[in-house]
């Protein structure tokens, strides 16, 4: 509960800092096609449209960040001929989902310091290893973490390109895979001029299970005992019903 608040606070501070710059917030306006992604029983992944307008030129970067969790990365090793989980490293504040889209390649738009300040791009992502993880391990396991997330489509690998129309309107589609994690997401849009972030806007995005699946999931986690009892009763009824239906005369 503390981390989302901290994240929100740091973003608020960043926006406050931007307000003191020459460009005004009105230079960038952005919104989402949808503020909620619902994972229903037939969910096969989706695309979120981020669109907006800029005033007075510049480049645009859109960052979509999923809920942050502590994640354990485990590495398999061969023990007596069997591959088992051996070494592990824990990382804090790992976004469950992380996508970056931009009008031009990031390294051409802003300095590494600026990218790190606003956590733009995988290189700018602030993910800390637990204290017991040494540096070589950290590099190896963090690379593996990012690789796995990319393989699952949770850190989209292909550079997402933002199209700008008439020098003012921009739009980009952010892909979400079928197994997108649930939680509170942030969609941040940045306006870049001369290597500096001069405008930013943050929109919230909720990813939640929808329909029957959502109710079941919530029920299973909130009252596991009752859920289990009902699961057993359902199974007993299914078993008896099946027997009745097919009983030979």
């Amino acid at each position: 509960m503390i981390r989302p608040r901290l994240a929100a606070l740091s973003i608020a501070l960043a926006i406050l800092a931007l307000a003191m710059r020459p460009a005004t917030a009105q230079d960038l306006i952005a919104d989402l096609s949808n503020h909620r992604i619902s994972i229903t029983s037939d969910f096969k992944g989706t695309e979120l449209l981020v669109f907006g307008a800029i005033e007075g030129g510049g480049d645009v970067i859109v960052v979509v960040t999923g809920p942050r969790d502590n994640v354990v990365v485990r590495k398999k090793d061969r023990v007596f001929g069997i591959w088992i989980n051996a070494e592990s490293a824990e990382f804090r504040n790992v976004p469950a989902f992380y996508a970056v889209a931009s009008t031009n390649p990031l390294e051409e738009l802003a300095t590494p310091d600026q990218l790190r300040l606003y956590e733009i791009g995988l290189a700018g992502l602030r993910v800390d290893a637990e204290d017991d993880v040494d540096e070589t391990e950290e590099t190896e396991f963090l690379a593996a973490l990012i690789g796995l997330k990319q393989a699952n489509g949770l850190y989209p690998e292909a550079p997402l390109h933002i199209n700008v129309f008439g020098g003012r309107l921009f739009r980009v589609k952010i892909p979400f895979p079928a197994d997108v994690p649930v939680g509170s997401y942030l969609v941040q849009s940045f306006l870049i001029r001369d290597g500096q972030v001069v405008g930013a806007q943050t929109s919230p995005l909720e990813v939640g299970k929808g329909g029957f699946g959502a109710d079941l999931y919530e029920f299973a986690y909130e009252d596991g005992t009752l859920h289990g009892i009902l699961a057993v009763l359902g199974a007993v009824m299914a078993g008896l019903l099946g027997n009745l239906m097919f009983r030979r005369p």
């Binding site: 994640v71 485990r74 090793d77 591959w83 989980n85 057993v232 199974a235 027997n243 097919f246």
Partner: protein
């Protein structure tokens, strides 16, 4: 094509694949008179269901698969309830211990490994025993000689304390035996998602010395209640019971079992057992191959403090 999202497994699966798997395992269980949990859990793991969810959901499906059999034997008075309750006492303890162990192993990141290794050992030994038995039976039939087995052997087990009288089974034996047996099968139910009939039935006949007429009914009594307890404990402690998954498998299994029973009535027992042994050894070999072949990715992720 017709994907359905499984809310606890958190994945999309083809609905007909699940119905087909349920039907196939149901057919085999009808054909051979086995529960089928020991085949279904590995199959679920093969299609990508997380092993803990495969176990939690399969143990729920075994309740459905065993309850009607238990009712049928009850109507025919082929259940030793006193023995069943003693077995169940051990089974409840065993399944609680199993769920506790399961939770710890999951936190250590070793539950997938333990589930796979348990299955390799179990399927390997059962498959081999069944194969040997059926080959022997076929040879014996061809040779025409018949060997008589002793039904009830007095052994070390009869010297144990806490003796109890079981009237229906006409036994006077130590309660430690059925409690210990129930405990062991309860652990298997929680960790592997199986009813454990393959182990319970021979142990009741050869270790406890129960009459064959009440063995199946009593084992079904124990299996129904222990898997019910394991389902509730898993749901409460590990949240691995996916009722959508269990429901679809049950639907397929109920239909498949009807066909299996009909086909089974027309085939010879020894060849059938040999066939089942081949299936069991095949599944065992696949699991073993997954353990010893180098994984395409050595790394895996898990979120700390689940939700």
């Amino acid at each position: 094509m017709f994907q359905i999202y499984l809310p606890i497994a958190e994945m999309s699966v083809d609905i007909f694949l699940l119905l087909g798997m349920g039907g196939m395992v149901g057919f085999l269980s009808g054909l051979f008179g086995v529960g089928g949990g020991f085949l279904m859990t590995p199959l679920l793991i093969f299609i990508g269901v997380p092993p803990p969810v495969a176990v939690g959901s399969e143990v729920n499906q075994v309740v459905a698969a065993s309850v009607s059999g238990f009712m049928a034997h009850w109507r025919r008075r082929q259940v030793d309830f006193k023995m069943g309750v003693v077995l169940l006492a051990g089974g409840t303890l065993g399944s609680a211990f199993g769920v506790w162990l399961f939770d710890i192993l999951r936190q250590l990141g070793q539950i997938d490994l333990v589930i796979s290794i348990s299955y390799v050992f179990m399927l390997g030994s059962i498959g081999t025993l069944m194969m040997v038995e059926s080959v022997r039976a076929i040879l014996r039939r061809r040779g025409g000689s018949t060997a008589r087995k002793k039904a009830h052997v007095h052994n070390w087990a009869h010297g144990l304390p806490f003796k109890m009288r079981f009237r229906t089974s006409r036994l006077y034996i130590s309660a430690i035996l059925p409690i210990g047996l129930g405990f062991f099968v309860g652990v298997l139910a929680s960790i592997m998602g199986v009813g454990g009939g393959f182990l319970l039935v021979p142990a009741m006949i050869y270790l406890l010395g129960m009459p064959v007429s009440v063995v199946i009914g009593t084992s079904l009594f124990q299996i129904t209640f222990v898997t019910a307890v394991a389902t509730i404990l898993h749901s409460a402690n590990t949240q691995t019971v996916d009722v959508v998954l269990a429901g679809l498998l049950t639907l397929g299994a109920v239909i498949g079992a009807q066909f299996g029973t009909r086909v089974g009535a027309e085939l010879r027992g020894e060849e059938l057992r040999g066939l089942l042994a081949l299936v069991v050894l095949g599944v065992c070999g696949t699991l073993l191959w997954r353990l010893i072949s180098e994984p395409s990715n050595l790394f895996s992720l898990s979120v700390v403090g689940l939700h």
